[in-house]
């Protein structure tokens, strides 16, 4: 773990946020602040020094800050973002998808010490990958050996068992689209699911429409998923959405080689490119 305590990181965040605002180039800094519940924080936009002092850093800072950069795609001033490893991957995702411009972002990277969120156990990128300033010393990253174990186990079930499991899960879905709105890979200006009049899917929240929505979303984001786990965290009905996206990622790894998204390289999404030597099963 980095050499700073939580309090020290919090102080540094406030300090860096104030510095950023003082330059006049940054309109606001997005971070987290307290709520009335000790185990919840909420995303917070600091515009003034006094508001910067409300920014907090603790193990409950679990909301992704990156998606808020999309609220204003063509800002007049830079947006400051407190960024953990996963947030920086989310930003890379959106930068690569040409949804954001790097020059519109001021990224305050924080080496993450893990949050009260199950997905953090499998984190492979605690250090921010993209940043303008970095708070804390980079730590050694761990490889998650269990990245796909759950998927592998699930694959072994019979077809009917699988179908029944998912059908029950999609029965719970209430069509709130929280998974979509929280997902950094879901960055289309207008989602297909909002185009009801086109007829991609019905508006009713019944099993069949939920299945179509669920699978479509998985396929839309599967090759661009950064495994931040926001979809699963925000789901009010607790659907295991990551179990679907990870299946896509596992197959991609199996078929087309090692693959991880949201890294600051120039790789394209898997379904947006091809190789002549890809395996062929359709001969």
């Amino acid at each position: 773990m980095g050499n700073l305590t939580k309090e020290q990181i919090q102080d540094r965040i406030r300090e860096e946020a104030k510095k950023a605002l003082a330059t006049g180039e940054v309109s606001c800094v997005v971070g987290w602040t307290k709520t009335r519940f000790p185990d919840k924080t909420k995303p917070f936009f600091a515009y003034t020094d006094a508001e910067c002092d409300l920014l907090v850093w603790n193990e409950y800072c679990i909301n992704s800050t990156a998606k808020y950069a999309l609220d204003d795609r063509y800002p007049e001033q830079k947006i400051g973002l407190i960024t953990r490893g996963c947030d920086s991957r989310a930003l890379n995702r959106m930068l690569k998808d040409n949804q954001l411009k790097r020059e519109n972002l001021y990224i305050i990277g924080v080496v993450c010490d893990g949050k009260e969120n199950p997905v953090c156990d499998g984190c492979q990128h605690k250090n921010p990958l993209t940043y303008d300033v970095l708070i804390g010393e980079p730590v050694e990253e761990t490889i998650n050996e269990k990245r796909f174990t759950e998927v592998e186990a699930f694959e072994k079930l019979s077809a009917d068992e699988k179908y029944e499991y998912w059908a029950k899960q999609y029965d719970k879905c209430i069509h709130c689209y929280a998974c979509r709105n929280a997902c950094p890979a879901c960055n289309c200006v207008e989602c297909y699911a909002d185009q009801y009049r086109v007829g991609w899917q019905g508006k009713a929240a019944d099993r069949e429409q939920n299945q179509v929505y669920g699978l479509t979303r998985v396929f839309h984001v599967g090759d661009r998923c950064i495994e931040c786990g926001e979809c699963e965290r925000v789901c009010p009905m607790h659907l295991p959405i990551m179990r679907q996206t990870k299946k896509m990622l596992k197959d991609i790894n199996d078929l087309f080689g090692n693959y991880e998204c949201g890294l600051p390289d120039d790789s394209k999404p898997v379904l947006g490119e091809y190789k002549l030597e890809d395996p062929d099963e359709f001969m």
Binding site: Y163, Q211, T216, K247, F256, Y274, D278
Partner: protein, 153 residues
């Protein structure tokens, strides 16, 4: 869902065929009076990569028992690269559907060129037989016909 699995049951199979190869192949098969099962509905698309994975989901939802996507052999795409994308896309789609409980035989993809009328016939016969053996598809299907009479309860 009423399962209509009696001996007279015939599956509904949807075949998305590329305009530049398989569709021509199917045409040739017809011209040569080749016999193949009539339960296949052919939909002509400009390229196999035109087929959105949602088409397949929607087909199952609206009552298809099987879906077939046919395109040009790799290297032969009219638009140079379309079928390479198709290849990646549907290899993943097939696996994802299997992961969700759909038999991979219900969704198949094949490369069939304009001159391979016999391959088209053979593919359709094979797919049709396989799906007939699997029986009617109820997964992902809308329960419309079952609930039609009952009103709201």
């Amino acid at each position: 869902m009423s399962v209509k699995k009696d001996s007279s049951w015939e599956p509904v199979i949807l075949a998305f065929c590329c305009n530049w190869c398989t569709y021509t192949g199917a045409d040739t098969a017809g011209l040569n009076r080749m016999k193949y099962p009539e339960n296949v509905r052919v939909i002509r698309v400009p390229c196999s990569s035109r087929v959105n994975p949602q088409f397949i989901l929607r087909a199952f939802q609206k009552g298809a028992d099987g879906v077939l996507v046919c395109g040009c052999h790799p290297g032969d795409c009219h638009y140079a690269t379309g079928n390479y994308y198709t290849r990646r896309r549907f290899m993943l789609m097939q696996r994802l559907l299997e992961y969700n409980g759909i038999d991979p035989k219900r969704f198949q993809a094949k490369w069939i060129s304009g001159s391979e009328a016999a391959k088209f016939r053979d593919t359709v016969i094979k797919v049709s037989a396989e799906i007939k053996a699997l029986g009617p598809n109820t997964k992902f299907a809308e329960g419309y016909y079952a609930q039609n009479e009952g009103g709201n309860e």
